[in-house]
Amino acid sequence: MLEPMGQKVLLSSKEIHIILHRLACQLLENHLDFKDTVLIGLQPRGTFVAQRLKKILKEEYRVKHIDVGFLDITFYRDDFRRGDKTLSATQTKIDFLVEDKKVVLIDDVLYTGRSIRAALTAIQSFGRPSEIELLTLIDRRFSRHLPIQPNYRGRQVDAINDEKVKVMWEENDGKDVIYLIGR
């Protein structure tokens, strides 16, 4: 398939499919019936991963009920007033308490770790979880600003700082594919 200049396919639709199934199995291994576990997708793009995982777990592994919420971290970010643009929020939708629950934070790309730091603070507004884990589809190695590592990772990538990882979803962008975009 021809791709635009400077853009390389990191994961194809089929690879994404396989990886999501593996991640679902790993979650299942640790959380079984998801009775005390909730999945929290980080806005804006971690929500797609969370919803896909929920779908796989329910349809293919017969998990009866999984709580999935969406968390927006805009108001918890540490770069307020540090860029030129106003930080715009998106919807938070968590209609259950996370008190004493095992929370799995879910994002598409783990890069500096700052979003996760903000999410760790933000989730406290909804209670005190008994445990927090991190699942990420793409883990950009060697680019962390904070001591944060995922418990579940889809694919580890060595990308240099100028490069960008772009995750596209069928329901939002027309197809499942992950690109590595160069300078």
Partner: protein, 308 residues
């Protein structure tokens, strides 16, 4: 989403439609935040805000202070009655002294129209007008429109009547600007003596018959008679005013539709509206107060993002 076109919120007159849209969308998120069990976000932890009130206020002052605290800003409060203003200090000196203590934003209420605009030209902080004389009260108008949007799904094309003392009301003027900007149809209603001359030039209709106004409208915003600003008699007696321009349950029930009743507070129960109307299902008065915090958080957040 983008950013506000202004550095200060001095009046609705200086905003555009996109600004209002952005404030409402941001307020939606803050409304969700203030309904959590932990109602606070850390966004503004490095911002200090001074609330400077040269005129009395309960609701607005509390609402601003709460909004600032929910955003984790540091807050200092100042009221003119307990200050050096009494000793002859000028407005600019007062504010500059406060700003020397490294304050980033000033929320000000002042009895003189244009006080906020004047201040914004002379000091370096971001200014939010919390009411300047009979001129503007922008956050009140924003929360009023936001409440209409929430209740009726939108503001555009809705018929809104503002009833009462239009002449002395900053709420009326800001509401007219905000509603017109969003495409609502606006009428004012009250005794002729309390309607400013040439108010039609703002694009609003004038109605002196309350019944006709209520028949026409989807929303009635009831204003209080501002006795403290009435230097002469504008109507014979309060009782006569109530008979002509007060809304009661019988009047509401006689309309062939259910209209929304709003009031910016403070209410003079039994004068502009009766208690059973104020506490009825049609009234969204307490919803307005809740929305006030979310709207003020949005305004403060968006203006603070522009402080470098």
């Amino acid at each position: 989403m983008g950013e506000l076109s202004v550095q200060h919120l001095l009046g609705i007159k200086y905003l555009n439609k996109k600004d209002i849209q952005l404030i409402f969308e941001t307020a939606d998120h803050f409304k969700e935040v203030i309904n959590r069990s932990i109602k606070k976000v850390p966004s503004l932890r490095d911002i200090t805000i001074a609330n400077i009130f040269f005129e009395n206020s309960t609701r607005t002052k509390l609402s601003f202070e709460l909004a600032e605290k929910r955003l984790s800003a540091d807050v200092i409060n100042f009221s003119a009655s307990q200050s050096s203003v009494k000793k002859g200090e000028t407005l600019i000196d007062t504010v500059n002294n406060i700003l020397s203590m490294k304050v980033d934003m000033v929320v000000m209420r002042h009895p003189n129209p244009g006080a906020g605009i004047f201040l914004s030209k002379h000091v370096g902080a971001s200014i939010i007008n919390a009411g300047d004389g009979a001129h503007e009260h922008p956050t009140q108008a924003l929360l009023d429109s936001y409440s209409i949007r929430e209740k009726l799904g939108g503001v555009e094309g809705k018929n809104v009547v503002i009833v009462g003392d239009i002449l002395h009301s900053r709420v009326a003027l800001s509401n007219i600007f905000a509603l017109k900007l969003q495409g609502a149809n606006v009428k004012v209603c009250g005794p002729k003596t309390l309607l400013p001359k040439h108010i039609e030039s703002l694009g609003v209709g004038v109605e002196t018959n309350l019944r006709k106004a209520l028949d026409w409208c989807d929303v009635a915003n009831m204003l209080r008679i501002q006795n403290e600003r009435l230097d002469i008699s504008y109507f014979p007696t309060t009782r006569e005013y109530t008979q002509q321009f007060g809304v009661n349950k019988a009047l509401l029930d006689s309309l062939d539709k259910e209209i929304v009743i709003m009031h910016p507070g403070p209410i003079n129960r039994g004068v502009e509206i009766t208690s059973d109307v104020a506490d009825s299902k049609q009234s969204i008065i307490l919803g307005q107060v809740e929305n006030g915090v979310a709207i003020r958080m949005a305004v403060i957040y968006l203006l603070a993002s522009k402080i470098k």
